[in-house]
Symmetry: C2
Subunit: 315 residues, 2 copies
């Protein structure tokens, strides 16, 4: 029986193994994903992003608890900052969300940033897809995000919550503006801190300045204290309200088209690049190009054109 | 006369125009870059990265002033958080570093994050290359960085300064660990704040725990108050010390090989993907694939293989 069938039967160990195979770039993993794909699309995906220090992990933990209390199975994909040295994720699965560790209805996976061959955005989509196929009702994607990669990742979520925190300094304004467009819900966490009301007001003002058409979704700014569990029910309520909006307005259609296009493009970009790497390995092209760049005789623009010409057989 | 020749003659307006052409993905820009490439490699590239709120822009401003006082020409490439909505950079060139705005020895360029067709890492390398060719002695690359893209970007720098700030909260620990390996110099900015000494001590401890071999560069932790200009001379001194280490130890060789390889790979990945997009446009493949994904009849893994097979003529 294929691994995919076990996953579709809800076998958590099979899912974990498939995720490892995805990590290891095994060709068999792609075949399994092809089998899973037609059975996905059932999970509701929630993105939680924001700057470091905003308390996202605790918030994810609390949101998970609320969905569990409602009988939903919850998958969590946490994108952790990676040590470029070890290649491993800093915050492992084990230290995350201890209280859910014995709960079979919670599946947590930390993803480290990837090497040159695979994009983080693609890995995240693939892992979320396995969780979906496994029968998770909710999949939460958590990123420490101000980077473009992280913005791209949360675009895969039906509902994106942007978490802010008071007192991160002045140039946080830029971040606020940068993430304004990706947030469906804004959360000011650590709301007991000085400046929480000001941060919330600033967010409201910035959102009002956008002049979004009335018929579109109107993002709210909520306040939470994730440590104490304050405001979490309201947050989950707002997530569900956004879900209702997506489906009742028909906005879900264009969302899915855009998400599917990005997912396909990510896979295509990765696969093409892998082909190029394999093509260059045949005759040690990479070392020759780098030698030439260091020596001054080769520029990378012409070298890239040569490789592509060779691959496409038009050289 | 080609734009490249004007750039090599130090024509700032020609450089600005070439950077616009790079932004606009004009094919002519690549031809100009090919002409410039053999004349580059003279600028010393400094990366400045760290979480939002760390005061990086002010620090860059001060470091620029020190180099100017030493008679060096300084280029600054600032990667700004982008509004996905407008596609524009949030902090424009104009509001940056006003005091250098009339100084012909300073060339500032803000780069917004890019669309799907071009990677940020590649654009940054290309723009830094133009500044190099223009005769800038120092090129500073500033990123608001915790994301992988941002880590990749500063890898292009000879010397990377990681800027931290006291009081960003507990999960900043993870960020610290994540960036430990990319920093050649660590800066605790806003050193007048509570907790600055503790943050500095933590960084020293984490660096000591790495057990790096003695003959390698030993990153120092410096304290600055960029607003008041305190500690900036020391920082520039340390940057120059790292530069001396790179050249006297011979570490510059492996650094350049790695940087050149990444630059080439970035260009190759981007160019291949552009070819794929052009290939798919011939018969509207993208729309068909997305339709199929939404309808459930097509999975993106198989579709990607089909497109690549078609491109390589093995279908």
């Amino acid at each position: 029986m294929a691994l995919a069938e076990h996953v579709l039967n809800g076998d958590i160990r099979a899912a974990a193994r498939l995720m490892r195979d995805i990590d290891d770039n095994r060709p068999s993993a792609v075949e399994e994903l092809k089998l899973l794909y037609p059975h996905t699309g059932n999970a509701y995906i929630i993105g939680i992003t924001g700057p470091p220090g905003a308390g996202k992990s605790t918030l994810v933990d609390q949101v998970t608890a609320v969905f569990r209390a409602r009988g939903k199975k919850v998958g969590v994909v946490a994108i952790d900052p990676t040590s470029p040295f070890t290649g491993g994720a800093i915050l492992g699965d084990r230290i995350r969300m201890n209280r859910h560790s014995c709960d079979e209805g919670v599946f947590i996976r930390s993803l480290a940033t990837r090497g040159a061959l695979g994009g983080l955005s693609r890995s995240t989509s693939d892992v979320a897809l396995v969780m979906d196929a496994l029968g998770m009702d909710i999949v939460i994607i958590e990123t420490v995000g101000v980077g473009q990669d992280e913005v791209d990742i949360v675009k895969a979520a039906h509902t994106t919550c942007v978490v802010m925190v008071p007192g991160l300094g002045d140039d946080i304004q830029a971040i606020k503006a940068g993430i304004l467009e990706i947030g469906d819900i804004f959360v000011v966490n650590k709301a007991d801190r000085d400046g929480a009301d000001r941060t919330a007001r600033e967010l409201v003002t910035m959102l009002e300045m956008r002049n979004a058409p009335e018929e579109l979704w109107n993002p709210q700014v909520l306040k939470t204290e994730a440590q104490r569990g304050t405001g979490i029910e309201e947050l989950v309520g707002e997530i569900m309200a956004h879900r209702d909006y997506l489906f009742s307005s028909g906005a879900i259609e264009s969302f899915l088209r855009e998400r599917n296009e990005r997912h396909f493009m990510d896979i295509l970009r990765d696969n093409l690049f892998k082909r190029a790497v394999a093509f260059m390995e045949r005759d040690n092209t990479l070392a020759r190009v780098v030698d030439g760049m260091c020596g001054g005789g080769i520029d990378p623009y012409s070298a890239s054109e040569d490789v592509i010409g060779g691959m496409l057989g038009k050289d």
